[in-house]
């Protein structure tokens, strides 16, 4: 019986101290503060030129994805989906990503490494002309038509209407 009481006492103590620790670390106020930061931060963060980590791509980046100067857009010809209700790597609602794309490389200023960037056109809606962008790294339209970023890449989609372009990181470029 004594052993059982001791055991129960110990369990009680553990639970009590665990709850206290939990309450200290995650009080209502700290929860509200974190929620507030998340809500406010989520709306402001895309506009701030700060280093960000993108979970899915595991990449440190710097700059404003709504600006044509953003590093990923070094070879983008078109308009930025991040200004049109989408993000730099996803189409706005109602637009369909083209399966075929043209691929270039851009240097990430954070780690000074070259990355392969896939420029997918988002199609099926009237053009979104909010943020025009025309950068031409590796763009060789006359010599290599397949390396022209002015080509309409809305092939294999329901509609050939061009809406905007995203820039998806595919991985590191080769060093040679």
């Amino acid at each position: 019986m004594n052993v059982l009481t001791t055991l129960l006492d110990r369990m009680d103590q553990r639970v009590v101290s665990g709850c206290r620790q939990l309450a200290r670390d995650h009080g209502r106020r700290s929860f509200l503060a974190k929620l507030g930061t998340l809500v406010a931060g989520a709306s402001v963060l895309p506009l701030l030129p700060v280093a960000r980590a993108f979970g899915a791509e595991g990449l440190q980046e710097i700059g404003d994805p709504r600006s044509c100067d953003y590093w990923r857009y070094c070879a983008l010809g078109g308009t930025l989906c991040s200004c049109c209700g989408g993000t730099m790597s996803s189409c706005p609602p109602g637009a369909e990503a083209s399966p075929v794309t043209w691929v270039g490389t851009c240097k990430n200023p954070v780690d000074d490494q070259d990355y392969l960037i896939s420029y997918n056109d988002c199609c099926g809606k009237a053009v979104c002309a909010r943020c025009g962008c025309h950068n031409t790294e590796r763009d060789k339209p006359v010599y290599f038509p397949s390396k022209s970023n002015d080509i309409l890449w809305c092939f294999g989609t329901e509609s050939h209407a061009y809406h905007c372009t995203v820039a998806v990181v595919m991985g590191k470029a080769s060093t040679g």
Binding site: V100, F155, M170, G176
Partner: protein, 128 residues
Amino acid sequence: MLLLLTPLVCLADPRADYLLHCGGCHLADGSGNPPEVPTLVDELGRIVDLGGGRDYLVRVPGAAQAPVSDARLAGIVNWVLTTFNAQTLPRDFKPLTTEEIGRSRRNILADPLRHRAELWRAAYGVDG
């Protein structure tokens, strides 16, 4: 020996070359977008053993005109064959050599689809 090999290994990254020069249309997994963009999965393993099949792989304009050296094109084509065509590649497959690719790619095909159909017909007597 390892030190001598290291720069070669660092320079030649066939997957990155593939993504940069081919993957835009043939897609990262080689599946393409048929019928406009043919698939590179499994079908090339069947073509490689046909008469003229090895040549065909680098005589298609996309391969022949890719802005890469013969050695790097060899890296890309062999990577595509062993990665996307492991199921269909002949057991005694020998990787394409740089010299072989240098010769073949100079003989670019003006009508690759027709040529491919002819290869298929010559081998199997049916349209591919």
